[in-house]
C-alpha cells in the first residue's frame, strides 16, 4: 500500500471571538502552521463567509489539501452541511477531523491562562495526530433479498404479511400447524365490540390470497438460519400433509369415511380439562372427537385437508380410496426447503399457563373447572358446527364463576401479569349476560385491570349485574353427589367466609411463550428473558431482538392484547423494511480484523452482544457487515489490538492519547483522560460545559461509540504517557445501547486495576463511572471528587 503524505488544512474557527476570549488564537495558528503535514493553517473569523469555503474547495480540487481539521464549536447539523458541501468537490466525508475546544473547557474564563494554553495545544495535537491517520472510506453496498420470513401465522403474522405484500414485499409465512390463525382463531369474541375474530383474520387472509407475493408454509418449522440481515438463509422442514394441496377442494368426502374417532389433539391449547374429569356435553365441546383426516386447524386455511397419520389404523386408506379428486397421498414424506430472506419476524405467540399446576383451584381434578381459553371454545360452540347444546343455556350452567390471576402474579407460577385476562373475563361475562340474562356471573379478583377504554367493559359488566368479589376462593371442591362446585371465599364487605355454589368455574390463566419458543430461540440464537419471552430493547426499540435483522413481535415478546400484537407486528416489519430493499448500505465504520495480528482466540466472537461474527475460509473471525451494529466492543476487548473500527481505529485513538501533554495542568494538578460513551456519558459532560457548571479543567475527553470500545492498551498508553487518571464513562446495567458494553469494560478495568495494584500503582487511578444522558451535575461532582482523590495520590509514577 502506498504511503500517503497527508496535506492538512487546519482552521481555527473563532466565530465571533469565543475562543479568543481565553487563548491567543493567532499564536496558536502560527505555531501549528509549522507542524508536520500542515500545509495551510489560519484563524477563520466566519466560517460561513462564502470566500472562505470557496478557497477550501479550490485547495481540495487542486490537491493542495487532502484533509481538513476544524477547530471550533460546530453543531451536528453544521458538520453535516460542511462535510456535504466539500464532498461535492471530492473531499471524502471521512477526511474531516472536528476538534471542539470549548466542550473540553477552553473558553471558560477563570482558569489559569497558562493551563488553558497548554491544554488547548494538547487538544489540537491530539486531533492533528488523528488527522494524519485518516483515510477515505466509502459505504459498502451488499446485495440483499427483498423477502421477509414470518415465523408464526397467527394474528400478528397474518396482518403484518398483508400489509407488507401491499408494499410490494415478498413474504414467507411459516406455521407449525396445518392451518393458520393461531390462538385468535380459537377465540369466540373480541372485546369491546364482541365481534367475531375470524372476520378480521379472513380480511387479511383474503388480501394474502389475492397476492402473488406471499407463500404459506404450514406444518413447517425453521430448523436453521444462516447468514445475516439482507442475506439470511433459512432451512424449513415441512411435515407431510398427506394431502395434495393443489388437488384438494375441501369437499369432506374423506372425513365422512374415516373410521377414527379420537379425542382432539391438544396441539392448539396445550392442556385440557376434558377427558375423565370434564365429561358430558361440556367435555364433548372442549375436546370434540376428531377424525384422522380433517380440515386444517385452527382455521381451514389453507383450504386443503390434512391427515393426522398417527391416528390412522394400520393399513387403512379409506380416505385415499374415496377422495374424488385423488388428493389424498398417504405416502407423502418430509420436505426440506431453503428460503432466502432479508429479515426474520418472529410472531410465535403464546400458550396458556398449565393450570393443572395451580392445584388450589382443582383444574383437572374436579369436573366443571375450565380455563379462560376453553371458555372461549364453549362460548363459540354454536359456531363450531357441533349442533346446539342445550346445557349451555339450561339451568345446568346458570351459576358461573371466574377466578382472576389464577397462577399469575404469583411467585410460584407466573410472577407477571398477562395484562389481558381481566378484559377477557369481562368480555366473557358480558357476552354470557347479554345472551343468557338468567346466568349469574361471579368474578373473584385481586384487582380488576381493565386499562384505558376497557373501563367501559367493566362498567357494562357491573350494569349487567355481574358480581365482583375482591377475594380469591380459598377452597374449591366438587360435590360428589351433585357434581357441582362448592367454593369457599371471603366476602370482603362482611369480612366473613361464604360458600358459593357454581355450575362452572373459569380460571383466568396467564400467557406463557408458545411451546417450541426455546427451540426457535436456539435455532435463531435469540436470547430469552427469565420468563422465556424473547428479549427485546423495551422502551426505545421494543421490536428489536439482539440479533440484527431478526425482530420479535406480539405475545412472543410479552403478553399483550390482539390489537397490540397487530401493531407490534407492523412496527417490527417497518424496521425490517431496511433489510428488504434489494440492497443494504453499510456505513464504513464497521470493524476490521487485522489478520496478521489476529490469532483466532475468538474473544470477539464470544463477546459480541449481537453475535455478529462469523468465520472466514481460514478460520478468522470477521463481522457479518449487516448484523454488526458497529459498537466497537470487539475493538475494546481484543487482547492483541487486532480489531479496529473504520474511522475510529486503535491507531487513531492511540495517536490521540499519545499526543496529550500529561503535565498540561502544571506540576501541581493532576490530569485526567476520560473516555465517554457517545450515547450518554459524553452528552452529560457536554451539557455540563454548555450549562456553565464548574467542570474542572483537568479533564480531556475522548468520545467513543460505546464504553466497551475502550481497549485496555489505550488505558495503558495513557498511564505510560504520564496521565494521572483514566476514566471510562458508560451506562448502567440494562441501559447500555449495546446490551453489555459497560459490563465488558468494567471487567477489563477491574483486571487492569489488579495489575496496577501489583505494580504498586493505586488501582483507583483507573475507574469506570455510570452517567445518564442528562447527568451533567453528577458528572461535575464525579470529576471533582476524582480529581481530589488524585491530588492525594500524587502524580502518576510514570510521569516524567
Amino acid at each position: 500500500m502506498e504511503k500517503v503524505v497527508p496535506k492538512i488544512g487546519l482552521f481555527l474557527c473563532v466565530q465571533g471571538g469565543r475562543l479568543s476570549r481565553t487563548i491567543d488564537v493567532n499564536a496558536m495558528a502560527g505555531k501549528f502552521a509549522k507542524a508536520k503535514n500542515v500545509v495551510r493553517c489560519e484563524v477563520v473569523n466566519d466560517v460561513w463567509d462564502p470566500p472562505f469555503l470557496d478557497s477550501i474547495k479550490k485547495d481540495v480540487e487542486s490537491s493542495n489539501i487532502d484533509r481538513i481539521m476544524w477547530v471550533g464549536r460546530f453543531t451536528q447539523h453544521q458538520i453535516k452541511h460542511i462535510e456535504g458541501e466539500l464532498a461535492a468537490t471530492g473531499l471524502n466525508v471521512y477526511l474531516h477531523e472536528w476538534c471542539d475546544l470549548e466542550e473540553q473547557g477552553i473558553g471558560i474564563e477563570g482558569t489559569d491562562p497558562a493551563v488553558l494554553k497548554r491544554k488547548a495545544e494538547s487538544l489540537v495535537q491530539m486531533s492533528l495526530a488523528r488527522t494524519r491517520l485518516l483515510v477515505p472510506l466509502a459505504p459498502v453496498e451488499l446485495p440483499a433479498s427483498d423477502a421477509l420470513l414470518i415465523i408464526g401465522a397467527g394474528v400478528a403474522g397474518i396482518h403484518t404479511a398483508a400489509t407488507l405484500v401491499g408494499l410490494g414485499k415478498r413474504v414467507h409465512l411459516v406455521e407449525k400447524q396445518s392451518g393458520v390463525g393461531g390462538k385468535v382463531a380459537l377465540l369466540s369474541r373480541f372485546y369491546p365490540r364482541l365481534c367475531d375474530p375470524h372476520c378480521g383474520l379472513q380480511f387479511a387472509l383474503d388480501k394474502l390470497l389475492r397476492s402473488d407475493l406471499v407463500e404459506f408454509h404450514t406444518l413447517s418449522d425453521v430448523v436453521s438460519l444462516e447468514g445475516g440481515p439482507g442475506n439470511f438463509e433459512a432451512r424449513i422442514k415441512k411435515r407431510p400433509r398427506y394431502v395434495n394441496e393443489q388437488r384438494c377442494n375441501a369437499c369432506g368426502a374423506c372425513t365422512a369415511v374415516c373410521p377414527v374417532d379420537a379425542p382432539a389433539s391438544l396441539a392448539l391449547t396445550g392442556e385440557s380439562s376434558a377427558g375423565p374429569v370434564v365429561s358430558g356435553a361440556i367435555g364433548d365441546l372442549l375436546q370434540p372427537k376428531q377424525k384422522a383426516v380433517h380440515a386444517a386447524i385452527p382455521m381451514a386455511f389453507p383450504s386443503a385437508f390434512v391427515v393426522d397419520r398417527d391416528l390412522c389404523p394400520p393399513g387403512c386408506n379409506e380416505c385415499e380410496k374415496k377422495c374424488p379428486a385423488q388428493a389424498v397421498d398417504l405416502n407423502q414424506s418430509e420436505e426440506d426447503q431453503i428460503l432466502r430472506v432479508g429479515a426474520v419476524l418472529v410472531t410465535t405467540g403464546w400458550d396458556p399457563y398449565p393450570l393443572s399446576r395451580v392445584s388450589e383451584f382443582g383444574y383437572q381434578r374436579y369436573p366443571r373447572i375450565i380455563s379462560n381459553l376453553e371458555m372461549e371454545q364453549l362460548l363459540g360452540a354454536d359456531r363450531l358446527g357441533l349442533g346446539s347444546h342445550p346445557e349451555l343455556s339450561s339451568a345446568d350452567l346458570k351459576e358461573i364463576g371466574f377466578v382472576q390471576c389464577a397462577g399469575s402474579r404469583d411467585e410460584r407460577h407466573l410472577p407477571y401479569c398477562s395484562s389481558v385476562c381481566c378484559s377477557v373475563t369481562l368480555k366473557q361475562a358480558v357476552h354470557l349476560k347479554e345472551t343468557n340474562p338468567e346466568t349469574n356471573c361471579y368474578v373473584f379478583y385481586i384487582d380488576v385491570r381493565s386499562p384505558g377504554f376497557d373501563e367501559d367493559l367493566y362498567r357494562r359488566a357491573r350494569n349487567l349485574g355481574v358480581v365482583f368479589n375482591r377475594e380469591l376462593p380459598s377452597r374449591v371442591i366438587s360435590n360428589p353427589v351433585t357434581g357441582k362446585l362448592e367454593l369457599q371465599v371471603i366476602d370482603p364487605a362482611l369480612n366473613a367466609p361464604m360458600e358459593v355454589n357454581l355450575d362452572l368455574l373459569v380460571l383466568a390463566g396467564g400467557m406463557t411463550p408458545a411451546q417450541g419458543t426455546s427451540d426457535i430461540a436456539q435455532v435463531l440464537n435469540l436470547p430469552q428473558n427469565s420468563y422465556g419471552f424473547f428479549e427485546s430493547h423495551y422502551q426505545c426499540h421494543p421490536e428489536e431482538s439482539q440479533r440484527t435483522g431478526i425482530y420479535v413481535a406480539g405475545c412472543a415478546r410479552e403478553p399483550m392484547k390482539v390489537s397490540h400484537a397487530i401493531e407490534s407486528g407492523h412496527l417490527a416489519a417497518m424496521k425490517a423494511l431496511s433489510f428488504l430493499e434489494g440492497s443494504i448500505l453499510i456505513e464504513p465504520t464497521y470493524p476490521v480484523v487485522d489478520k496478521a495480528k489476529c490469532d483466532q482466540c475468538k474473544r470477539c466472537m464470544e463477546s459480541c452482544p449481537f453475535s455478529s461474527f462469523v468465520f472466514d475460509e481460514k478460520g478468522f473471525p470477521i463481522p457479518d457487515l449487516a448484523r454488526c451494529r458497529q459498537c466497537g466492543n470487539c475493538m475494546g476487548l481484543c487482547p492483541l489490538n487486532a480489531v479496529s473500527l473504520g474511522h475510529n481505529t486503535i491507531k487513531q485513538m492511540a495517536a490521540k492519547v499519545g499526543a496529550i501533554n500529561p503535565s498540561f495542568m502544571g506540576d501541581k494538578e493532576p490530569t485526567v483522560l476520560a473516555f465517554l460513551c457517545q450515547n450518554d456519558a459524553y452528552k452529560a459532560a457536554r451539557e455540563a460545559v454548555d450549562k456553565g457548571l464548574p467542570v474542572p479543567p483537568n479533564v480531556i475527553l475522548i468520545k467513543v461509540p460505546c464504553a466497551g470500545s475502550v481497549n485496555n492498551a489505550l488505558v495503558a498508553d495513557a498511564l505510560s504517557n504520564g496521565i494521572d487518571g483514566v476514566l471510562v464513562g458508560g451506562c448502567q446495567d440494562g441501559q447500555c445501547h449495546y446490551v453489555k458494553g459497560n459490563q465488558l469494560v468494567q471487567k477489563r478495568s477491574a483486571d487492569l486495576g489488579d495489575k496496577l495494584k501489583s505494580m504498586m500503582i493505586d488501582p483507583s487511578r483507573v475507574r469506570f463511572a455510570t452517567l445518564e444522558i442528562r447527568d451533567a451535575s453528577k458528572y461535575v461532582d464525579l470529576m471533582q471528587s476524582y480529581i481530589a482523590e488524585l491530588r492525594v495520590m500524587g502524580p502518576n509514577p510514570f510521569k516524567i
Partner: protein, 583 residues
Amino acid sequence: MSRKIVTDINEVPTEVIETDLLIIGGGNAGCFSAIEAKKVDPNLRVAVMEKAHISRSGATAAGMDAINTYIPEGKTPEDLVRWSRSQVGGGPIREDLALSNARELNEAVEDLESWGLPILRDEDGNPKYRGKWDISIHGEQLKPIMAEKAIQSGADIYNRVTATSLLMDGDRCVGATGFGIRDGKFYVFRAKATIVSTGGACGLYKSYTSDATSSHHQTWMNPFNVGSGYAIGIRQGAEMTSLEQRWVATRTKDHCGPVDTISVGYKSSIINAKGERILEKHYSHLGGDKAPRYIRANAPMEEWLAGRGPTYADTTDLSPEDAKDLKTDYLNERPSFVLFLASRGQDITKEPIEIYGSDPYLVGGHCQSGYWVDIERMTTIPGLFSAGESAGGTPNKFVGGCATEGKLATRGAIKYMASVSLPDLDSGQVAKEKERVFAPLLRGPEFDGVSPLEMEERMQRLMDEYAGGISQFYRTNEERLDYALKHLKMMESQTQYLYAKDLHDLMSAHEVLDRLVVAEVLVNHLKFRKETRWPGWQTRSDYPELDPNFDCFVESRLNKATGEVEMFTRPYEQVVPGDRYKA
C-alpha cells in the same frame, strides 16, 4: 489437543500440502525468506513450517536490544567482512558469503524500521551506535513485527508443525515431513525448493544450572532450537561445516543472559575478584578489550580456573541513567535479567554484574557452524537451501545478517525451482517416515522403556563431561571424544525404547533424536580438528596449540549407506584483501 493418545498408526491422519517454496523454521531468517519470496513473485506458493507460533518463536522470542551489524556511514561491506574475519582469529571464514551478505545488510535493517521497529536515533536522526557496528533498538516487538509482515505477505504459516525429515527424490530434496504438535497429524510438504532456517542447536550440552526442580533451560540461546534443521539434512548426507566452532560467550552468571550489552554497550570492563581488568592484563597482545570474541569469552573461565574468580562486568562506574538504560536494553532482549537482579536485591552501580561462560551451543549466526552452502545458499543437497543460524561458513551474522541471508536464500531457491518439477509422491518413503515419527507415541506411556527427558539428560551430561562442556572449562581430548562417540552410539541404538505420553512428549522425543544426530557429528568435528584454534569455542587439551595445517574448513558428511560420518577439509579462500587478523 496435546493429550491425544493414539494406538494405531492408521488413526493418524496424513495431510499432504503442495507448495513451491517450503521454509522450515519461521524465525528471523524464515520470516524474511517468506516476505522476500512473496515480494519477488506474489503468485509463488510459500509455506512456512513453524514448530511454535510464529508471533514469538525462535531466538528473538523476548525481543532484541540491538542489531549487532549495521554498516555506518563511511564504512564498506569489505570493512565488515574484515572485522568479522578478525573476530574469529582470522578465519577461515566464507568471505564470499560474508561479502554478499554485507552488501544487502543495511537494506534488511531498514526494512525492519519501515515495518515499525524503533531504531534509537540521536537528535540529528542518526542511529545510535553502541559499538563499532552495533546499533541500539527497542526490539521488544521485533518478532511480532516480522511475523505480521510474513503473514501479510500471503505466505501460509503452519504453526505448531515440527519438521522431522526431508522428503527426498533420489539425492535431491523435494520437501519435508513433520507432525502437528496440537493436531497430531502427519504432514507431508511437497516443495520445489526448501529452505532450512531452524536456528542453531541448544541443549546438546548440560547447562550448569540445570537441576531437578528448576532452571533446566537457563540458557543464553533459545532452548527450543535444538538443531532439528541440521539433523534432517545430516541424515540425508548433507555436508556440514565448522561444527567444532561452538558458540561460547561470557554470560551473566547463573542467569545466562547476554553480556555484550554491558561490555560493548556500556564499555564495562571485565574484572576478576581482585578487581583487575583481565583483558588488559592478560590479553593485551591479542587486543585487550578488543580481542577476538572467543578470547573475551574464555577469559573469565581462565580466571576461575586460576583461582581468581568470581569474575564481573564492572558496572560500578555507571551513572544511574546509564544503569537504567542498561536495564531497559535488557528488558528488550532478555527481560528476566532485570527480575534476576531484583531477586538478589542487586544495585548494579554498587555491585558489579557477575559473569561466567555458558554451555556451548551451535549457532551458525554467531559462529559459523552449519550447512555448507554455495553462493546461492544451496546446501550440498540439491533443492535444499539454508539461511540464518542453520547456515554455516559466516559468523557474526546476528539479526541483520540472518535477515539478509533469508532474502538471499529465497532468491537462490527461486532461481533453482524454475527448472524443477515435482515427482509423484513416494508413498513408501512417506509411510516409513510416518512410522518412525509416531513410534514413540504408539509405544505409549506404559511402555517399559526410556523417556525423552531421561535420554536428554544422559546425552547432556555425556557431552558436558566428555565433549568439552562447561564443567570441563570446554576442554576435551581424543580419548574423551571417543568415549563420547561410543556412548552416543549406544544411545542411538536405544532410541527404539523411547516412548512418549502425548504430543508434547513426542516433540521432546524427536528433539532428543535430532540432538543425538547433531551431537555425533559435532564430536566428529571436535575429534578431527587436532589443534586449538579458538580456545573456549574449541579447546583440545591434547593439542593446545594452533596448527597451520588446520587453516582450513573442517567438513563432515554422513554416509547414508554405511552410517559413518566422513570427515574431510576444504581450503580457505581469501576474497577481501588485507591482514586476516586485523579488523
